[in-house]
């Protein structure tokens, strides 16, 4: 009973936060609501006895990724009004599609198929059950190929990000240390020999 209350609390929080993410006007608020959404889903995972994943979600997403998100959002000059242009025009069509989807999903993914009668509740894990060890074991044995492909995926993401944002040196004004240290005295100072006292130019008498 208590578990159910906790579940509904987290689930309601998740739905509310997710709705706010796409409806609030201020992008910084949207990011903060996303943080709340992540927290709520971490709570749900905790109820499913996936403690390691729940903590990883909080540490990685809330702790690191969302902070970067906030930085990016604050650096960008986002014109929310322009982004929301046409919102009301599309609402009816989008609403109908969303409602149909919801109805179809509700018809199929309901109590009759996923209720406790259809899928019995799995027995609770023993107290000394090692969540982390279990994940580690399958991650590097059974699922090593998908794991490595995911790593390549991240590599491609890095390459693409650099390829798309790196500007050519022509436009950057950063100092180039490797050329600065090569500078010698001859590049900077030029000694010019001059006579100390210049003789007065000869006067040419007018004829």
């Amino acid at each position: 009973m208590f578990e159910q209350l906790v579940f509904y609390a987290f689930a309601a929080g998740l739905l509310f936060a997710a709705t706010m993410v796409i409806t609030v006007r201020n992008p910084v608020h949207a990011v903060l609501f996303l943080v709340v959404a992540f927290f709520a889903s971490a709570g749900l995972w905790m109820l499913l006895e996936a403690e390691f994943l729940a903590i990883a979600l909080v540490l990685v997403y809330v702790g690191a990724v969302m902070v970067l998100f906030l930085f990016v959002v604050m650096m960008l000059d986002i014109n929310v009004a322009a982004l929301r242009e046409g919102f009301s025009t599309y609402v009816p069509a989008a609403g109908i599609v969303a409602f149909l989807m919801l109805a179809a999903i509700g018809l199929v993914v309901g109590h009759q198929h996923f209720g406790l009668g259809a899928v019995p509740q799995p027995p609770a894990a023993a107290a000394d059950y090692q969540n982390t060890a279990q994940i580690g074991r399958v991650l590097y044995t059974q699922y090593v190929l998908p794991f490595e492909v995911a790593a390549v995926l991240l590599l491609v993401a890095i390459i693409s990000a650099i390829a798309l944002t790196l500007r050519t040196t022509r436009q950057t004004k950063a100092p180039r240390p490797e050329r600065q240290v090569q500078a010698s005295r001859a590049d900077r100072v030029r000694l010019v020999k001059m006579v100390a006292v210049k003789p007065e130019p000869d006067r040419i008498e007018n004829p």
């Binding site: 996923f114 998908p146 492909v149 491609v156």
Partner: protein
């Protein structure tokens, strides 16, 4: 055979792609040719490794997440050959239009190829998804590489957003299937589906979302929104790349998911594919008629062709799969040539992708007008050319599967489609050129394009060889 030996081609491709990336980073500016040759060499090495080992029965590796079989080997070979061809075309474009795209094209294209190979040999929902993402992510950034072009950025953005949506739907479908069957493994799923009669509704529900993901990757109506914008917006070599090899990978993905994993639901997915197929052939062919941009016209023609290709899968028989594979291979070859012609026509000032740029090509360059004539006739499905046999083999299977009305609809839409292919030929031979500048292209490009066009003609005269390969690949699927 151990796991590493099975996946050797993919491992070497990853290593070589990283080498090409480093070569490009350190020597790319001084000698762009070096990156190109490194990329070509990588493809050739991997091609040799793939073709070296053809298993007699399907072999599984990495706890059943990887599957090596004849279908996979054949598809990977075709993919690598197509990628190699598109590299040679791309090199010409870069030398004709310097400054449009930077050298990251080759390494990113190689990573996309890696994604295609993983997708083709996937045997688990997880591998399918990751292979697909690797392919798509590389393609998004390839489109966006042309940074100075507003159209390209817009195309990349549309592609990315719609692709992310399709990935989300695909994942949702996979999660439903996992929830019902309790396995990610496609061969286990095949057994489970046969035994889970009572859960038919739920499995079908998951299947719907998988079909959405597949439909997006193939670019069939109603998941085609990205195709015209991406084809038109991206630089021609990128469009050429997207329009050829990834189509084969998408076909591989369809086979893996629908046939290797969910053949038990064939009745259900046949109905869905019929809808997608009829809509694609109709909308693709009708909208292609009103296009002025050659690349956009080819995009709508792709949509129609993909709809036609699905007809073979609808028959749900080994011969049908072979026919679809034959169709998509030939289509990739034809569209390679068509985009190659645009590269021939482009110059430092213009992309050369308007239909009006083709005006008077018959006078400016009779030989290449003839090559494009072969390609257009072939796409329309006129008898002596390759495209005819592709359409013929697919239609034969549809009729054999008792969908005569569907074959009738397909023929009707092909007739409508013939109009805009023939219009291209009319523009080439009967319209006056706007500017009678001669067609320029290096000897390499001329050779490549001639071989490409003549290959389509040759496959029309002797389709037996390629057909036999496709049938051999589909033998395991015969009951």
């Amino acid at each position: 055979m151990n796991d590493i030996a099975l996946i050797l081609p993919e491992v070497s491709l990853l290593a070589l792609a990283c080498v090409v990336l480093l070569v490009d980073a350190f020597a790319g500016k001084r000698s762009p040719e070096l990156t190109f040759w490194a990329a070509v060499l990588s493809c050739v090495i991997v091609l040799a490794e793939v073709a070296r080992f053809v298993p007699e029965a399907a072999m599984f590796g990495f706890s059943g997440t990887l599957r090596i079989d004849v279908l996979g080997v054949v598809l990977k070979t075709f993919v690598l050959v197509l990628v190699l061809l598109s590299f040679f075309y791309a090199r010409e474009y870069f030398s004709k239009r310097p400054g449009e795209i930077r050298g990251e094209y080759y390494p990113l294209a190689l990573f996309a190829t890696l994604g295609m190979m993983i997708l083709i040999s996937a045997s688990s929902l997880l591998t399918v998804y990751l292979g697909l993402e690797l392919l798509s992510l590389s393609l998004y950034s390839l489109v966006a590489l042309q940074r100075n072009s507003v159209v390209a950025s817009e195309a990349a953005m549309k592609y990315f957003v719609l692709g992310a949506l399709a990935s989300g739907l695909l994942l949702y479908g996979m999660s439903i299937l996992y929830g019902v069957a309790g396995t990610l493994d496609l061969s286990e799923l095949l057994v489970k589906v046969a035994n889970l009669e009572s859960q038919r509704l739920l499995l079908t529900f998951g299947l719907v979302f998988l079909v959405v993901g597949i439909g997006f990757k193939l670019g069939v109506v109603p998941f085609h929104m990205w195709v015209p914008d991406v084809y038109q917006g991206a630089a021609t070599p990128v469009t050429q790349f997207i329009g050829t090899a990834p189509k084969l990978a998408a076909f591989g993905m369809t086979m893996r998911l629908l046939v290797d994993g969910l053949e038990g639901l064939a009745e259900q997915w046949q109905q869905m594919l019929i809808i997608l197929s009829v809509l694609s052939m109709g909308l693709g062919n009708l909208l292609a008629i009103s296009q002025r941009n050659f690349k956009r016209m080819l995009a709508y023609s792709t949509i129609a062709h993909m709809g036609f290709m699905l007809l073979g899968l609808i028959s749900a028989s080994a011969n049908g799969y072979a026919a679809s594979m034959f169709y998509i291979t030939l289509y990739a070859l034809m569209s390679m040539g068509a985009f190659g012609s645009i590269i021939l026509l482009c110059s430092a000032q213009s992309e050369g992708d308007q239909l009006s740029d083709l005006a008077g090509l018959g006078k400016r360059s009779p030989w290449f007008a003839f090559i494009l004539l072969i390609l257009m006739f072939s796409m329309a499905g006129v008898p002596p050319f390759g495209g005819f046999w592709a359409k013929w083999s697919v239609l034969k299977e549809v009729v054999a599967a008792d969908y005569v009305w569907l074959a009738g609809v397909a023929v009707l839409f092909s007739l409508i489609g013939a109009y805009y292919y023939l219009r291209v030929i009319k523009i080439m031979y009967f319209d006056e050129p706007e500017s009678p500048y001669p067609v320029t292209g290096s000897a390499d490009l001329r050779f490549l394009l001639s071989v490409n066009g003549l290959l389509v003609l040759l496959l029309g005269l002797m389709p037996g060889g390629l057909m036999a390969i496709c049938q051999a690949a589909a033998i395991p699927y015969s009951p």
